[in-house]
């Protein structure tokens, strides 16, 4: 069985909106799981970087909210995080499940990590690398999956082709340190902070179809998927272009993040909001079945 780590944390109000866990809170939990997995099964994260010259960048994040859950619904959350190797050592895949103690999961995350070779211990400049045979030997057969997780672009193409555009907006941000990590590179788990601001701006000013989009303020997000192409760094300027679509079940927001300097694509984000009928929700999920990864 693939190795995992399980840990508990008490809930606090900063982890939530009135209707659900912040996406960033869930991602933070899962990345803490990554650090815990390394400490328990390999080498503590700081030593992996400093002594072994190996790190990771986040290539993709996919969070599904599996059922309604708010601050008052439980005292404690339990997170279980599992690590696998994919694409012959080109990728690592973290799977995280978050559940209130003794109850069904409320969120599931898949994080795709690209291993990188660190060239210096000062700014942590790095180049992508494949895991070597010595590292791969640490993983059991059931901890290796042959293929990479699917890309986001086909889903984006389908969305744009099949559903009407309702509204759009864009905003340029300066990347300040609260959005960055230890290498002064943007923190992948902070990207929802940017997309949330632009999405809410689109909803607030939209006059074309305010009722449909207002579900994005009144109802929980159902899923957020992020694919990273290139990083940004401290004090870089980033443009977030948001397009809101009327999806089959509810509003869908497509964000394209690009460098304000040269227009290079940085990341793509999709956010699905469904006007849930909580009692009728069938629990179907993109990645998870009965709270566990497919």
């Amino acid at each position: 069985m693939a190795r995992s780590v399980t840990f508990e944390l008490p809930v606090d109000t900063s982890m939530f909106t009135p209707v659900q866990l912040h996406a960033r809170s869930v991602f933070t939990i899962v990345m803490s799981g990554w650090a815990r997995w390394l400490r328990e099964h390999w080498v503590p994260f700081p030593r992996l970087v400093r002594d072994h010259g190996l790190g990771v960048v986040i290539a993709g994040l996919d969070l599904e909210y599996l059922r309604p859950f708010t601050f008052f619904d439980a005292d404690t959350l339990t997170a279980t995080v599992t690590l696998r190797v994919a694409a012959r050592g080109k990728l690592l895949v973290l799977t995280g499940v978050v559940a209130p103690d003794g109850d069904a999961a409320v969120a599931g995350v898949e994080a795709v990590l690209r291993p990188v070779r660190i060239s210096d211990g000062v700014v942590l400049a790095a180049t992508p690398t494949d895991l070597g045979t010595d590292v791969l030997a640490r993983f059991a057969e059931d901890e290796v999956v042959p293929v990479a997780p699917p890309r986001l672009e086909p889903t984006v193409d389908e969305l744009e082709a099949a559903h009407p555009l309702v509204a759009s907006s864009s905003q340029t941000f300066t990347l300040h340190r609260h959005l960055c990590e230890a290498a002064d590179q943007w923190s992948g788990i902070a990207v929802p902070d940017l997309t949330t601001e632009v999405r809410e701006q689109v909803v607030s000013v939209s006059a074309a179809d305010g009722d449909a989009l207002s579900a994005a303020l009144l109802r929980p997000m159902q899923r957020i998927a992020i694919e990273f192409r290139r990083p940004a760094f401290f004090l870089d300027e980033i443009t977030v272009e948001c397009r809101a679509f009327r999806g089959a079940q509810g509003p869908v927001f497509l964000h394209r993040l690009s460098s304000a300097l040269d227009g290079d694509a940085l990341a793509t984000v999709l956010e699905w909001f469904t006007p849930w009928d909580d009692e009728a929700r069938d629990g179907s999920s993109h990645h998870f079945e009965q709270g566990a990864p497919r």
Binding site: V49, L54, G55, V56, V57, V116, R117, I118, S119, D120, V122, V123, L124, A125, A126, T127, P128, E181, A182, A183, D184, Q185, R230, P231, F233, F234, L235, D236
Partner: protein, 88 residues
């Protein structure tokens, strides 16, 4: 030449927007820059004084191949140092 540093190396030059260096080639300019900012040298150049492969250099928005760092530059040429990726 005028150096513009992007990415995580910016803090090693005190977040200065532009740094003017008087040197005939890009490579000589890098060495002059590293004399003024020793912390930058550890990151930018390897033990042999060559540009580390993780960093890229552009002159007037045109990316150079590593073999081109000895090209001549004019006083008003803008040389950008770019770190494509950092890990952690």
């Amino acid at each position: 030449m005028i150096f513009v540093i992007r990415g995580p190396m910016r803090r090693l030059v005190g977040f200065k927007d532009q740094l003017t260096v008087d040197a005939p080639t890009v490579h000589e300019g890098l060495k002059e820059l590293c004399l003024e900012y020793p912390d930058l040298r550890r990151v930018l150049l390897d033990a042999c004084g060559q540009l580390r492969g993780v960093h890229r250099v552009a002159v007037n928005r045109t990316m150079l191949d590593r073999s081109e760092v000895d090209r001549s530059v004019a006083a008003d040429d803008v040389v950008e140092l770019v770190t494509a990726l950092a890990g952690g």
